[in-house]
Symmetry: C2
């Protein structure tokens, strides 16, 4: 029998703390601003939406934040996730590269999202909250929060981007199986949704719009808080269990990644994998290249501005400095619904600005081609989002082949594609086309950035 192909850790090696990159960054990220005053917001400004424990994590500069016992208890159902060596993919590519992936699709909801959903549900429950509203793109996040809500007895209401709601009807059934309610967005249930529909009745929706609806509900109901599945500091923080586990698993493998790859919509799966390694490098440890991969049709890091902007379309959120395409930008309805966000996590945007990571964009058909190559070699059908990471990993492995260098590549296989099979069906039928945004619309959205963004 040949070498190990799967590095498995026992339950007691689940990290005891989340890792906070802010502690190791050479400069702190710019503050979040109040849209009225232009001044940095305080904890109380966020209190209508989030429990104080999460607000504390959002602004913390501590390097390590303890994971509560009940959260680790639930993590143990599927964590630590295995680190896989993709030996069959390596052979199929005939590359000298060593390709590894961390597979988060084994979680109950099928992606990395439960890592933060469980934590957020826990802190809300502790704070006496009984109801959480949220948005979801492809449905990975909505399913994860629905799962977490079922465990803590919380009512969950999910605004699902309409184009994904229609593309992936079974995601709704999954959320309902967990007891959640799922509403296509824009909806008639909120002022934000009604305003969008009045202007464009056939709106495919966007994460920015769905966030507006969910935030509005939370802001106007005392029993309801809001939860976000990516972007925010505390969300990225919770995902660092992924990278921390991978670091221990690379010790077992007696190897270390030269290149780290993740897809980026809001940025949490990429950050979860990469930040622990980046922190190690920033503390004087080993060099590592970070590659964030996004869709050409929603190119936040590669075409957006690094500027202050709203997190949502209706401008209900504070202003955060991030790479953004403009909060009114509505990307076309491509299949990687989790990557259709106009902004990027402030921490990733800041790290990009500091030159600590690279970004690149791919079209969806080339990503599906990569996903099918992975499926035929490794037997796992990735989510369309994850296909972006697979594509970059394959490209890097082929570059190793050309150059005759044996680099170690690690990518985050952040979720399975079992609820995205219409996309694969369309791909095989030759019906999947690369989509693009309207350049004029992008220019207008960028021109509409709030004026504080000059800073």
């Amino acid at each position: 029998m040949s070498d190990t192909i799967k590095y498995v850790l026992p339950e007691n090696r689940i990290p005891e703390t989340w890792y906070n990159i802010v502690a190791d960054l050479p400069s702190p990220p710019p503050p979040v601003l109040h849209p009225g005053t232009g001044q940095p917001i305080g904890p109380n400004d966020l209190a209508p939406l989030f429990p104080m424990a999460l607000i504390g994590q959002e602004v913390s500069t501590d390097p390590a934040i303890e994971i509560p016992g009940p959260v680790r208890e639930i993590y143990r159902q599927w964590r630590p996730t295995a680190l896989h060596r993709a030996r069959r993919l390596e052979r199929a590519l005939d590359t000298p590269a060593r390709i590894y992936y961390k597979y988060e699709g084994v979680s109950p909801a099928g992606s990395h999202k439960p890592n933060t959903a469980v934590a957020q549900a826990f802190y809300n429950k502790e704070a006496g909250i009984t109801r959480i509203s949220t948005e979801t793109g492809a449905g990975q996040w909505g399913s994860a929060l629905a799962f977490a809500g079922a465990l803590f007895g919380l009512e969950i209401e999910v605004y699902m981007v309409r184009v994904s709601f229609e593309q992936k009807p079974y995601r709704r059934s999954m959320m309902e199986s967990f007891g959640a309610r799922c509403v296509p967005s824009p909806s008639e249930e909120t002022a934000a949704g009604r305003a969008i529909l009045a202007e464009r009745p056939d709106s495919p929706g966007s994460l920015g719009i769905a966030i507006s609806e969910a935030v509005e509900v939370a802001a106007t109901r005392d029993d309801t808080n809001y939860a976000l599945g990516s972007v925010l500091n505390h969300v990225l923080l919770h995902q660092t269990v992924v990278g921390q586990e991978a670091m221990v698993q690379f010790e077992m493998a007696d190897d270390y990644p030269d290149i780290l790859i993740g897809c980026t919509g809001g940025g949490s799966n990429f950050a979860g994998l990469a930040f622990p390694f980046l922190g190690e490098k920033l503390r004087g440890g080993r060099e590592v290249r970070l590659i964030a991969v996004e869709p050409t049709a929603c190119p936040t890091l590669t075409r957006g501005k690094y500027a202050y902007d709203f997190g949502d379309t209706a401008h209900l959120t504070p202003l955060v400095k991030m790479h953004t395409l403009g909060s009114t930008f509505v990307p076309p309805g491509f299949h990687a619904g989790g990557l259709r966000y106009h902004g990027m996590a402030p921490l990733i945007s800041h790290a990009h600005d500091l030159g600590l990571l690279e970004a690149r964009a791919y079209n969806q058909t080339e990503c599906f081609e990569a996903g099918v190559a992975l499926a035929r070699a490794e037997g796992i059908l990735p989510a369309p989002e994850a296909n972006h990471a697979v594509k970059a990993a394959i490209d890097e492995a082929l570059r190793c082949k050309e150059e005759g260098t044996a680099r170690t590549i690690l990518f985050n296989l952040c979720g399975h594609g079992h609820f995205d099979m219409q996309a694969y069906t369309d791909y095989f039928a030759g019906k999947l086309v690369d989509q693009t945004y309207d350049e004029a619309e992008l220019a207008m959205a960028l021109a509409g950035l709030p004026s504080v963004a000059a800073g």
Copy 2:
């Protein structure tokens, strides 16, 4: 933090041999007969369909058969699977019972089926075969063989029972992702399919019909062998990795099951879990109750006859003694497509005849209710087939509560339901009804059993 909830074994604890229950049964199973002569068949009779290595396993009386290195190598991607303690389900039921499940849904194809698919693909490849034809019900087996075929470079052709093909269109996309071809059965591609369609153009299909089509293709093409996903001795043999792992995991848990539960269509997931424990008992080890669970709408063990019958509808297979509803019986189109087989594994039928296991039947809506209860407690959406095992486990746990006894219950959570979400959607919409067969049709099918069945 509370006690362990997940028992994980390292890669090197994957069993090195498959366990053959035949070695420990008090009497050998009745021989397989040639339908023409009524005499026991020899290896050469099966050679047009199977490689000699599998034929050898089919008739072996050795207690342990070595798992080839390349097969274990592939098993290592997802095996050993975890043994889970369902503490949240226990709390939800408020039962003193200890409920465990072995979760096979983590395999690439989403069920236990790759355990035998990989082995069968390996032996066929070794024998120089380039093409395998097979049948599939719900699609779990077809996906598994498609996956295995991709790994060994074999062409895979899957005849999928038409009602499931229509209920679960994304299973087809999954098989195509792995490079297989999927045909709804009955089809115009075979004489067997054409004969059925001539008589009943709207036939929903059955496993018996799909087997006829796949066997016909294998029998008439030199480059093509046939593979079966359940029923046969060698298939049950390959699944014993499940139960063998569970035995080691119960040692870790310092516990032992009083009750073993699995759903039964052809019988392989139930046998895979239960036979290693049954063997232990037969060798003088601990007592354990075995419960095989089947659908009321296809009640092979609870309403069928233990008699010689054909494995397929067109009578292309040899005669095997098994519990059967008659090879012409076409069950209604309920959602647990993997349980719609007229027969039962000869080894399970024999064990049942020897009084070594119990059988019970449930309707589909009560099984979905149980599945949703599991989803809300454990976060895993089971396949409709697995819901039958969940229902029985919950019933046994509730009986423990009534009686105030703390029994240990182990069930096989043999697959996830990600490709069965239309069934959950229908269930939530109140559209799922319990189906039943026509009593007259069953009587006719039973009356048509071949005359050798007198024996």
